[in-house]
Symmetry: C2
Subunit: 309 residues, 2 copies
């Protein structure tokens, strides 16, 4: 029985309605069809948020619509979980509009990643809500095959701890500093973590295991973000770093993203475990965020207590 | 005679040695040849920093070398100005290694932009040193024609105020909120401004005119950066915004960077003047940073007191 200090929403059970919400970028029905099929196959009852398919440039509708959908999902007593359709960009524009009292009153599991890191940070700040860092409902079997679906299913619908092993075929596998660390697992997309610095949403990482993953950012920008985290003091007192996938982060220079990760994380004096299949790459696995984790960089394993109870 | 609270280095005079330094990305002799020709033509005596052409991936040599070059330039009593060859990335990795006592002891004008914004922020923090936001010595006549050269020359070698008019053919010309603001001009590249949030280098923008420019960042990322600045409180108490060039910032979405700038800056309640030919675009003009400026968004003119005395 985990004793860490976070708010665990109830585990999802067959028959539970879950709302599909688009707090960030726009999507289309055909892109979400497979996700709906999966959720339905698990016995859940996916319900579309009113503006789930709204579009306004790179946003899934205006800020008011996206915030209204989130608040409707949090307020509706029928809804038992909030499944984000996708990331993209836009969550930070609406997180200050979330009714945190409603979140605290009726905690619900929120699943998503990438731009949804911003939403999960805000829910952590406002309600200490544990969340699920995993694929959105805009599901692509090519990227997230059966193992990904099983991983999301387990994180949402069981109360078992989640174990993720570093995988040799992952690009960041070479990034490792031995040791073992325990603390809440906090983080997600590196861009969104750094875009939270100086805002109320930036979590205190003292004693925490920081999770980072990224997509389509060249090594020098990954360097800039990690240098930013170092220079603002956010990494002081960190317990460890869980390094997920850095997908399509190569550019023309001869410094790779692995070089950058080793350079910027290797001297922090804490265990670092790369090669975790968490992020935008093929075979993305789901992990709880906000809950107690053990990063065992000797054994190459990250174990996270469940987000749901 | 300006009375604002900054350290103005001496104006450059014919015969003055200036050191070409690469605090960020690497360059090559052939790329700096035209810049050396221009500086020499103004009567200056360009001297290469020891590691000006060093290379280590996307950096102009290791951190120790780049920091050593900066400190050598600041410490050498012969050197009267520091001209950065180019931006790129890397200044934030070395700014904490700068000998600020040397900077304060013998203030020298530092010219550059883009990644050099990070250096100029650090010099502002550590020495209240006014700087020159203008092209580096890796000069391209196609991008920075005669008018650009004259503008840099005037900012370095005269003590006249600098005036820049909004230009109709600039993409950001449509971004405007009427009014008039006075305060120190602070800023530069938007990525580097946001990468300073939460660090000691982030200047207090209360009462300041914020200068922003960007290159090759899609509208949603410009949105993210401006949203970040808003959410961390950096724009509270701002006097005005000077919007320079946003070069090659288009992407596939139908929201343009002009839409984003209007949306994120238009409701701040301060004057905003777009269309300033300052940044990575063709015809870049030079402006002092750190010194008192008047942003006249009615007349479409930014006037800045000189960086040098």
């Amino acid at each position: 029985m985990p004793t860490d200090d976070c708010l665990r929403p109830p585990v999802l059970r067959p028959g539970d309605p879950v709302m599909l919400v688009s707090p960030s970028g726009p999507t289309r029905p055909e892109r979400v069809a497979r996700g709906i099929e999966l959720l339905t196959g698990w016995g859940l009852r996916p319900v579309l948020a009113r503006h789930a398919y709204a579009r306004q440039g790179y946003l899934a509708g205006g800020d008011e619509l996206r915030a209204a959908d989130l608040n409707a999902a949090f307020a509706d007593p029928e809804v038992r979980g909030v499944i984000c359709t996708r990331g993209g960009y836009g969550a930070q524009r609406v997180v200050d509009l979330i009714d945190m009292a409603a979140v605290r009153r009726d905690p619900k599991v929120v699943a998503g990643f990438s731009d949804i890191t911003a939403l999960q940070f805000a829910l952590w700040r406002g309600a200490r809500l544990a969340s699920v860092h995993g694929p959105g409902a805009a599901w692509l079997d090519e990227r997230t095959p059966l193992s990904s679906a099983e991983s999301l299913h387990a994180a949402l619908m069981t109360t078992e701890p989640v174990t993720v092993a570093a995988a040799r075929d992952e690009e960041t596998y070479a990034v490792r500093v031995p040791g073992r660390a325990t603390g809440p697992l906090l983080g997600g997309n590196l861009c969104l973590i750094t875009a939270s610095i100086g805002t109320p949403d930036m979590p205190d990482l003292t004693g925490a295991v920081l999770l980072i993953e990224e997509v389509q950012e060249p090594p020098y920008k990954v360097d800039r973000m990690l240098t930013h985290l170092r220079r603002c003091g956010a990494l002081d007192g960190l317990a460890g770093v869980a390094v997920g996938q850095f997908t399509e982060c190569a550019d023309g220079w001869d410094t790779t993203v692995v070089d950058v990760l080793a350079d910027r994380l290797g001297d922090l004096g804490v265990p670092v475990l790369g090669g975790l299949p968490i992020g935008h790459g093929v075979g993305q696995l789901t992990v709880p965020v906000g809950t107690e984790a053990t990063l065992d960089a000797d054994a190459g394993i990250l174990t996270v207590t469940p987000a749901v109870a």
